[in-house]
């Protein structure tokens, strides 16, 4: 185009018309909008990249917490006389005052249980110092109770779906705060951490060793499960636990040895006191007061940003969104023979919900776990 045509009117002493001016302004505006768009995109990419680094950090920390306390689980079993009904010693049997139980959360947690497994056990974690409200004691918390390193505690992990309002301090719960930061109903990995002085495990009146009803026996953690549970991580959709056990493959009772193979439990369950409620059988007597050698822990973790978006896409209905997640896990991880299939199906279904997630796993070796099986005692 001929530039002179545009410059000519100016030379004539004429200015721009309003239309010309508005046109140039709008062109400028469009350019600025485009530039702003580029800047915003770059920023988004940057923040995504930064977020990627810290992604699932919370879930990874949670997996570490599970691993570290589970690996310390203790049974403190010893051999004692086996007595007949008349009280006469007839042999030896393993005894313990502890209990390791791993199984479907619906069996162990009761109401509000989510998909997958839960586990409860004892470990020397040295958690104490709540004397203020301990039964029979009005004494204040003692500072020295923080250093009881080998003090045994009842401990456990399970997944719970609930509101975060419970865990918020007062000022984050009022009306203006909940408008700014709406209630978050999420799946959380919960840690049951019972202060030692609250334990009824060794109580004579409780008498765990004489219990024959599982429901009663589990009271050692169920009685104060809610009171002593705390969230470890948010957006843990499910926890899948595969306990391994040392199974006898070859027995030579004449020579007094047996060959064992460490295998995953076919039903995702391990109970060291199963003989008390289901009687002695090959499995229950091989697990009697013996910890599993290892447990495969898998956490299905999502990210808050992604889960928040997912809830928004589900019509802002937390509960409906959660139900869809539950449906994904429904009937899954019940039989180990289907493990691979369940894994693929669950990953496919969660991806189908548009959730950004990761299945984090770790094989936890229990230091006092059992790797051998004695020939029938």
């Amino acid at each position: 185009m001929d530039m002179r045509r545009f410059l000519k009117p100016l030379r004539d002493g004429r200015g721009f018309t309003l239309v010309e001016l508005l046109l140039s302004m709008s062109v400028l505006a469009i350019i600025m909008v485009l530039m702003a768009d580029v800047v915003v995109r770059t920023q988004n990419t940057m923040s995504q990249a930064t977020a990627h680094v810290g992604e699932f950090q919370e879930a990874r920390a949670a997996l570490d917490a599970v691993s570290s306390s589970l690996s310390q689980a203790v049974m403190d079993a010893s051999w004692s006389y086996k007595r007949n009904a008349a009280g006469a010693a007839t042999g030896y049997e393993r005894v313990s005052d502890h209990h390791f139980i791993l199984g479907a959360a619906s069996d162990l947690v009761g109401t509000g249980a989510e998909a997958g497994q839960a586990m409860f056990f004892q470990a020397p974690l040295g958690f104490a110092g709540s004397f203020t409200d301990a039964p029979g004691s009005g004494a204040p918390a003692v500072a020295g109770t923080e250093r009881l390193h080998t003090l045994v505690n009842a401990w456990g992990f399970y997944v719970k779906y609930d509101t975060d309002l419970t865990y918020r301090p007062g000022f984050l719960k009022d009306e203006t705060a909940t408008k700014l930061y709406p209630e978050r109903k999420r799946f959380r990995l919960m840690q049951y951490s019972q202060p030692a002085e609250k334990s009824i495990l060794y109580s004579k009146t409780f008498a765990l060793n004489r219990k024959t009803a599982k429901a009663q026996a589990l009271q050692w953690y169920q009685a104060d499960l809610v009171a002593n549970s705390r969230p470890v991580a948010e957006n843990i959709l499910a926890m899948v636990l595969v306990p391994y056990s040392a199974n006898v493959t070859v027995t030579n009772s004449g020579e007094g040895y047996s060959d064992v193979k460490v295998e995953p439990d076919p039903l995702y369950a391990y109970d060291t006191r199963d003989f008390q409620w289901n009687g002695s059988n090959a499995i229950s007597s091989s697990r009697r007061h013996q910890l599993p050698p290892k447990v495969l822990v898998t956490l299905f973790a999502s990210e808050e940003k992604s889960y928040d978006k997912y809830v928004a896409n589900s019509g802002d209905d937390d509960d409906a969104a959660a139900q869809k997640v539950r449906d994904v896990f429904k009937g899954r991880f019940a039989k180990y023979s289907d493990y691979e299939k369940d894994m693929t199906e669950v990953e496919k279904a969660l991806g189908g919900l548009g959730l950004h997630f990761k299945a984090l796993n770790a094989t936890v070796t229990l230091r006092s776990g059992k790797w051998i099986t004695e020939v029938t005692p």
Partner: protein, 216 residues
């Protein structure tokens, strides 16, 4: 000049102006008004949203670092100390407020009972006038009596005070177990930390037993 002639001249000038097609005052005013309106609209929202962004960014960073501190304690199986620094801003723009933090591994204990620290990073500074809300209701750790320190350590280059908490290798902290622990970040006011909770704030809730961090 007669009145008639004057009128004629004025008319002539008007005609000439119309032919020249330059701006009239009204046209110019319209343009300026439109521009002013646009600028005002942009100007009103940009700094506020930038500040909110910055506050959010700082809070996310702090939350991630507190998460990292727990992970560090677990991974390396050492106690980890998290310190929050209170110091005035160097240029004299801000008063003595909690505007920095640092994470340290505890590698041992000196004969006087003090921990031997190994800082994993340099002191992280909250920039852009972001500080921790001073009222212990909103930043519970600040109810602790601060320790005076500096100017040689923590590379802040000045004397400072700090409050801290410990994370044990299992993720447990030495924070009071039954109270809820929260850190609230706000923007600094001319008088320092705002007295009441401002409309714009970010809070980080920390579980004292599991070390779990939740950002609001």
């Amino acid at each position: 000049m007669s009145a008639k002639a004057l009128l004629h001249r004025t008319c002539e000038r008007r005609k000439a102006l119309r032919h020249a097609k330059a701006f009239t005052l009204v046209e110019l005013l319209v343009v300026i008004a439109v521009m002013a309106l646009l600028m005002a609209m942009a100007g009103l929202t940009v700094p506020a949203s930038m500040a909110t962004q910055q506050l959010g960014g700082m809070a996310r960073q702090l939350a991630a670092d507190l998460d990292h501190a727990v992970l560090l304690a677990q991974k390396e199986s050492v106690p980890v100390e998290v310190r929050f620094y209170r110091y005035p801003e160097k240029e004299g723009l801000g008063g003595e407020e909690y505007r920095g933090y640092q994470i340290a591994k505890i590698t041992g204990w000196a004969s006087d009972g003090k921990p031997k620290l190994q800082f994993t990073t340099e002191a992280q500074k909250l920039t852009g006038g972001v500080i921790m809300m001073r009222d212990p209701q909103y930043s519970t750790l600040l109810s602790k009596t601060p320790v005076k320190s500096g100017p040689d350590d923590a590379d802040l280059g000045m004397s400072y005070e700090y409050v801290s908490y410990l994370i044990r290798p299992d993720g447990r902290t030495n924070l009071p177990r039954d109270a809820k622990t929260v850190f609230t970040l706000v923007r600094e006011m001319p008088e320092g930390s705002p007295k009441d909770l401002p409309a714009d704030y970010r809070s980080i809730v920390l579980d004292p037993v599991t070390g779990a961090v939740v950002l609001y």
